[in-house]
Symmetry: D2
Subunit: 369 residues, 4 copies
Amino acid sequence: MGDNTLGTLFTITSIGESHGDLIGIIVDGTPAGIELDLELIQQELDMRKPGQSSLTTPRMEEDKVKIVSGIFNKKTTGAPICLTIENKDVDSSKYEEFKGVLRPSHVNYSALMKYGQYYDYRGSGRFSGRITAGFVMAGAIAKQILKKYNITIFAYTKSIGNIIDEEVYNTSDYESLLELRENSLVRTLNQEKSKLMEILINEVKAHKDSIGGLVKCIVSGFPAGKGGPIFNSIESNISKAIFSIPAIKGIEFGAGFKASSMKGSEHNDPWILKDGKIQTIKNDSGGIIGGISIGMPIEFTVAVKPTASIGISQKTVNIDTMENIKIEFSGRHDPCIVPRVIPVVEAMTSVVLLDCLLIDGFVPRVFKS
Amino acid sequence: MGDNTLGTLFTITSIGESHGDLIGIIVDGTPAGIELDLELIQQELDMRKPGQSSLTTPRMEEDKVKIVSGIFNKKTTGAPICLTIENKDVDSSKYEEFKGVLRPSHVNYSALMKYGQYYDYRGSGRFSGRITAGFVMAGAIAKQILKKYNITIFAYTKSIGNIIDEEVYNTSDYESLLELRENSLVRTLNQEKSKLMEILINEVKAHKDSIGGLVKCIVSGFPAGKGGPIFNSIESNISKAIFSIPAIKGIEFGAGFKASSMKGSEHNDPWILKDGKIQTIKNDSGGIIGGISIGMPIEFTVAVKPTASIGISQKTVNIDTMENIKIEFSGRHDPCIVPRVIPVVEAMTSVVLLDCLLIDGFVPRVFKS
Amino acid sequence: MGDNTLGTLFTITSIGESHGDLIGIIVDGTPAGIELDLELIQQELDMRKPGQSSLTTPRMEEDKVKIVSGIFNKKTTGAPICLTIENKDVDSSKYEEFKGVLRPSHVNYSALMKYGQYYDYRGSGRFSGRITAGFVMAGAIAKQILKKYNITIFAYTKSIGNIIDEEVYNTSDYESLLELRENSLVRTLNQEKSKLMEILINEVKAHKDSIGGLVKCIVSGFPAGKGGPIFNSIESNISKAIFSIPAIKGIEFGAGFKASSMKGSEHNDPWILKDGKIQTIKNDSGGIIGGISIGMPIEFTVAVKPTASIGISQKTVNIDTMENIKIEFSGRHDPCIVPRVIPVVEAMTSVVLLDCLLIDGFVPRVFKS
Amino acid sequence: MGDNTLGTLFTITSIGESHGDLIGIIVDGTPAGIELDLELIQQELDMRKPGQSSLTTPRMEEDKVKIVSGIFNKKTTGAPICLTIENKDVDSSKYEEFKGVLRPSHVNYSALMKYGQYYDYRGSGRFSGRITAGFVMAGAIAKQILKKYNITIFAYTKSIGNIIDEEVYNTSDYESLLELRENSLVRTLNQEKSKLMEILINEVKAHKDSIGGLVKCIVSGFPAGKGGPIFNSIESNISKAIFSIPAIKGIEFGAGFKASSMKGSEHNDPWILKDGKIQTIKNDSGGIIGGISIGMPIEFTVAVKPTASIGISQKTVNIDTMENIKIEFSGRHDPCIVPRVIPVVEAMTSVVLLDCLLIDGFVPRVFKS
């Protein structure tokens, strides 16, 4: 399958460049008969869009969603839905100047090696985080559909730099988690930590530097017995989708890396019959065993690296002159991308899980309200 | 694509059950004209097979590879290669007895929810780690082909429990790394740590418990500019493949989870011109930027959970009687699966990377020696 | 893969509805560095667009191609190319009126059964022949690339109704075939037959009826040894793509259906060494043996059914009242769609064959001029 | 996807060579809980196997089906089912002798161009019609499952050479059609025509020649509203599968090629309400409109070319000496392959349609008896 298409029955195809006309996504396989709430799609986009606060890039983009196909009489028809947003605040001047200069941990060298001199280097082109606005639009559709089956996808900032929120939240109350997150500029759930994270980001920004963090994602209400074994394990498909997001360097499910130092007697989640329902006492498995859901929340954490684009002087190479040089980049960048990654993680997770439920037959091809 | 097939041009299809007739793999898309070294395939299998030492399950399997198609005059023909090993030392008696008992962190509940009562529960059936013997055979083919292009894939035990080897090894000397690993029963590179790990495993085993660990994998010689952007990022495809291995709960590339607490100025890998070659001074990116290789070693670490099957008494549910119970399982299991996961990680990585190079056209469809 | 995406490495994703905002196509996997001739894309579109002559539907559409992504500095970047045309001359009034009336041999019943009442019935929505304008844009890209490798794809009208041109044309002279075709309103190669076909279409049109025909397609310059065996046979992939075009009811390669009444001694194409090149004396195999090209022209013929939408009174069912009724439809339709199918057949063939050559590695991922 | 794998949710992967150890198929995506009738699989195989009568190749193969995975307690588990048959009566001596001689309309040239000298040329290796024994085994599984939903797939010999049975059969009585076919050595339905066909085949055989024919396939009981639009049209997917069968050179649905000379008023199938059911009066659409089923029988006809391997002297080229030569081949071949193609056409159709119904959700992933 092409590099820009993902999924089996519910598929998304990503288009657009950072400094081109638009960013878009084609969503195929949506069940027919679903009344999409355009406002909700816009809300998700607004969570990702730049210029939300002093903590994000000053690039100003309205990111207004437009649906150009697949909807008729306000409902999905089963045809591919194409959603786009325009690029407006484009300033490509910076990129011409530094064309021959490799940017540390930035895609301009790998793109050059893959596509020759032909790739669109303006604002990282196809490799820009801006591409993920398309993911978010697709995810907002998937999320709405999953909601109809009482499945909620929720992500939040677990850490920025060394400021970590280790608390385990009760995911059964989706609405109050949403509220907690809305109260935080950095989309974390603990107000105190939130303040510390903001201070850290501002500090880093003042030094023209950047900082990474962790995003935790929790899926509630997902039924047991879904997902595939082997190559279609839920972990396989979620991780494939998550690593499509620029800046992600790691993913772990349930206890994750901690499991590597645990004993079986500690890590194993005992089964318990509670209120006539089979559950586990704890959830170190992250809701998935053998690649298949067990009815407990699906939980995973992803590591977001610090933005590569920083203003500090760095060693690098000029490939035109083939010289070792030092360079300071300017440009409009996020000191910390983590809060803006939140809706993207939710989006990719929603896309993967809806595909999984369509494959299973749990979600039918025509919606029955 | 089916749950049991992976890949685009170089594909593998997995068959077999733990207590069925055989375990097998169908490898499609192998370039024609390659003389496969059957001995090397067997060696890889031997690294994974049970009963290698007192540290592994006492199940005795010869795991003798047999190729039943795709080879003619000792060379690959371009046709699908089917490789099988027989199951011999099968003891299914234990499984009948505990049929209705959910096993903590074990797949018997999720399989039941997905397949109804029809799944093959003997020795975990399709969900057994034994399935990965098929992966290893496919990987051994891919690995041999990559070797012809001077690409080596090397994995080792980085930790067992809390005994961690933090050393960064020079991957340019593949042969001496191999030698170091061969000297260790647990497939680690530091002799002292190896001893400690062995002691830990034996201790855990004596307590009828199990223990997890970390596997690090390093790919050397992989050319720059390969892999896809977005959904075909190298991280996406490697992680999808790695999470197909039972017991894996996390994966990180380069600095990985550490990146989440780093600043851009720390994490960024400065470019440098050295011996006329473009390189990075360090490799926190793990050899991949924007999903595409940069010519540096591809490095990642995976978290292996402790084996779920332990002999210690555990709380669980009997779904026949729908009662909360306590149970002690016996059976033949590994106290620590990490050393046996090593060849499987190498195998899946080899499969993904060969597919990537066939898609790119770097590896041609007919081998030119 | 989704219903609206086709291909392995060179993929196309179709969007849009007949009476929606636009028709579009996303082309992924185009090699980087190719200077696309936009004028040629427009020319192909013009061959398909409505309102070209009195022989086609009176719907007037400019069908002006617009590229919204994937091009930078006038060249392909390797990123997905999104091409669109706007719908302008939309008149949906006729469709509301006949909503509950099944149209003989028309998709409104099958769409209803598949998508419930939610499908877009205006102008057949997703099922309209208008969708193929997207195919043509994608094909025009593939065609230009194939041309750089001296591969030409040429289709023409072989018959309308019972007026058949049985002549076998020398495909080595692509330019003169193009010229012959341009001289014919119905895109046939024999001027006399062309006149007869025009008369027939006008006659049929006067009776508010429609008529079918045959399209022959010839690919010249395609190298030997390409295509896959078994499920990726060239016939398999071409036929899959061709049957995606509405109104196609049959396809045959080489001697095709005639082969069913031939003896082996007649049908077999003897090999001959001519000018140092291995060829066959005749081409009843249609350039493909065992699914793989042999270096001779790839030849196939497709059967186009008469347009279902006719003005003559027909028996049918009103599904709202559940009554057998008789009905006369009006609306703007082609009395004979065959001439407009020509560029679509060329397009789909180009798409499939370019994908085939990318898979083979014959066409590299970065264009070397 | 690999050349040897077909399908989306119900997939088949083909392995084996004509003169290798075995022929096999891996069937993935079978719903769990189905009791397979092994005898029925064997019966289908017996219809295809060589040496059935004087009309077929004298190669004697028992073709005894063996299931090596995916079945437990006599039922499908949802795991991949691997079915194999051994090759026993292998005589490769003929092939060494003629290695450098191109065989007219035979795959040895295209295989050479694709795979270099490495392909398995013994008995056509992967390109042998014998491969289709694997298809038949997979089809026999799909067919049994479809039967549980009252869907029957039936094919018969419509013509051999110029002896054509034009009669339109009432497909509602599946059992009596089966009986008619069983009474004919050539698997046609008209006894008189059957005799003439036998005579023709014997005549052709006496002249060391071969002869082609037509196979008609009718699917009854297939529900309306299934199949996809555009690239997943039922015609697209059936034709892709059918052209995977060696010797097929054409396919047409419903009126097919005849539609090309019909008027809309003739070709259109009027809808009628009969017994409260929506039907069409006739079935020139072949049960499919817009790629989607309408609840009428799915009907198509395929053209089978005469076997390329004949004993008559033919012109050809010796590629070792690069000379034009004349040659007479001997070897064991069918004078007419048509009767043996019947079960293969049924098999591929069954595979495609079951996949279609799994994608739709009509057939669930766990069988409810």
